[in-house]
């Protein structure tokens, strides 16, 4: 087929599918449902291809048959144990690979979380109290941490301090929301540009 026609068919398909999805805003309907099931199917197919070509081929087939690394048989066997899930009776065998992934993930997450989520954040919060910002940051961080303190009822002085923490949290939520609006509108702009420019040619 001509490249031009292919592109036109492509744009037309994309336009139709875009409108089918937008129809959800009015209400859930058979057109949206069609698009939903189609999207699920296509994306599952996509991931299947990508994972086979980009992981199973280079990390299993290539390593095993071309480079002859027999160690690859271990994860391959563990991976295959996942298939027993489809058979109820043997399903418990899949706990072996599951345990490996969960355990190893937990292990590597501990130092990573400690370093990036706690230590770095602590380090960055230690600022001179001679500036307004330094004081605000110290109060903000400590009062918000106090809000998350579960061993004590939020009453009296401590209660007021945690209340301050909730105010800081509200500023954070409001700010994040406000900032996010920007991004969300950009997404709509992108879609409308497609409909108005690429599909209908109304804007240049």
């Amino acid at each position: 087929m001509e490249k031009e026609t292919l592109m036109e068919i492509g744009t037309f398909t994309a336009l139709v599918l875009t409108l089918l999805i937008f129809s959800f805003l009015y209400k859930e309907n058979p057109f949206y449902r069609f698009a939903e099931y189609l999207l699920v199917g296509i994306s599952v197919g996509y991931y299947l291809v990508i994972i086979c070509r980009n992981t199973i081929y280079p990390l299993v087939i290539d390593k095993l048959f071309v480079q002859g690394e027999l160690l690859v048989l271990v994860p391959t066997a563990l991976g295959c144990l996942m298939f027993v899930r489809l058979k109820k009776k043997w399903a418990y065998l899949s706990r072996l690979p599951l345990a490996l992934m969960i355990g190893f993930g937990a292990g590597i997450s501990i130092p990573a979380m400690l370093q990036a989520r706690i230590l770095k954040q602590m380090s960055a919060s230690m600022q001179s109290l001679l500036t307004v910002n330094g004081v605000v940051i110290l109060i903000g961080v400590t009062s918000t941490i106090a809000y998350f303190y579960f061993s004590k009822r939020q009453e009296g002085m401590f209660g007021r301090f945690t209340q301050l923490g909730t105010y800081f949290l509200m500023v954070f939520f409001g700010a994040t929301f406000g900032y996010t609006v920007m991004s969300r509108i950009s997404l709509l702009i992108g879609r409308l540009e497609f409909v108005l420019r690429d599909a209908f040619g109304i804007i240049s």
């Binding site: 937990a106 501990i110 370093q115 001179s128 996010t180």
Partner: protein, 387 residues
Amino acid sequence: MKGEGTNIFQRWVIVSCLILVSFFIFPSPLYAEAQADCGAHDTPSDGGGSITIFWSDSADLIPAHVDTLTVYRRAVGDSDWDRLAETTTREKLFLDNNTIDGIAYEYRLEAKDSVSGTQFRVGSVTSSPQWFNANRTVVLVGVLACLAVLAGVMYIQRSGKSFYVRPIRGLEAVDEAVGRATEMGKSVLFTPGWGGDIQRPTTIAALNILRYVATKTAEYRCDLYFPTHDPVIMAAAEEVIHEAYIEQGQADIYNADNVFYTTSSQLGYAAAVDGLITRYKPAAVFLLGTFEGEALILAETGNSVGAMQVAGTDSTIQLSFFMVACDYTLIGEELFAASGYLTKDSKILASVKVQDYLKVIIVTLLVVGAIMATFGSSVLSDWLGQT
């Protein structure tokens, strides 16, 4: 019960001993050569293959104004020198990252310009890999502190003391939501978000809450749907839900098809869950786990069918959407605490206590650090921030 406790205690002892032993058996060499004018040593805290050469730019070693410094190397016993690199005298340090472990090298440093010059030799020295990265001592101290507090709390707990945990806003809502679904004869939907995988502790915490929710739906005999984007989470969730149903003696109504993988695509997943919500109109929607952009799509759709929504996530951005669109939101750490609170599992409650004690330490350090910063010292802040 007692036997299990001992078991865990033993494991705890093994972990901390392993770490401690590795700390003492393979201490990173501490170099006392800082006083020397020049020298070379194996680069510390690395995987081998590197030697550090250092010099001072004091006038007795290098003539003033000389800027260019050339580094030569030879293996001990060879006669020819290899020119390695040209650097400047101001650098005071050169890393030769191209050595073979176990071979002794010596280095010749030549500092000269058109007017004056000097050269000196350092070595011989061999590179070797270290077992411990001393730059990460602070993170090790942190992990040890966590383990120590955990051990302490578990010790106290074994002596029979129980802990107080304050009520968490919105947690009672879990029961209420499931009860409401039963009354209305509708289903419950639980989804852990697209952002997580099984390696994230958040997902584990969410699965804990899932277990509680599943116990309730089993008890009230109402349908529980669990769509996910991750096949591994699906596998783990099947185990969790199935167990809850067996525990309640309701294994016969457990339907494995209600726990399913949709697609790994973020918006494919969102579209599928949206479709599910609008078609089944669940009376309760639980959005607990790591969410990204799909958070508000799901929350608004859940709201539009009038579901009671309980959300909780560790993704800081999506928290703000959940706050606005859902009935109850567990903020960050509350999600972790909730799993202990709901299951009333004493060991999980103990770890909530651990978190609290660590918070006291953290706040103390923060205040000390800020005071130090006020007086111009960034020692603590630098130490914590090092990598």
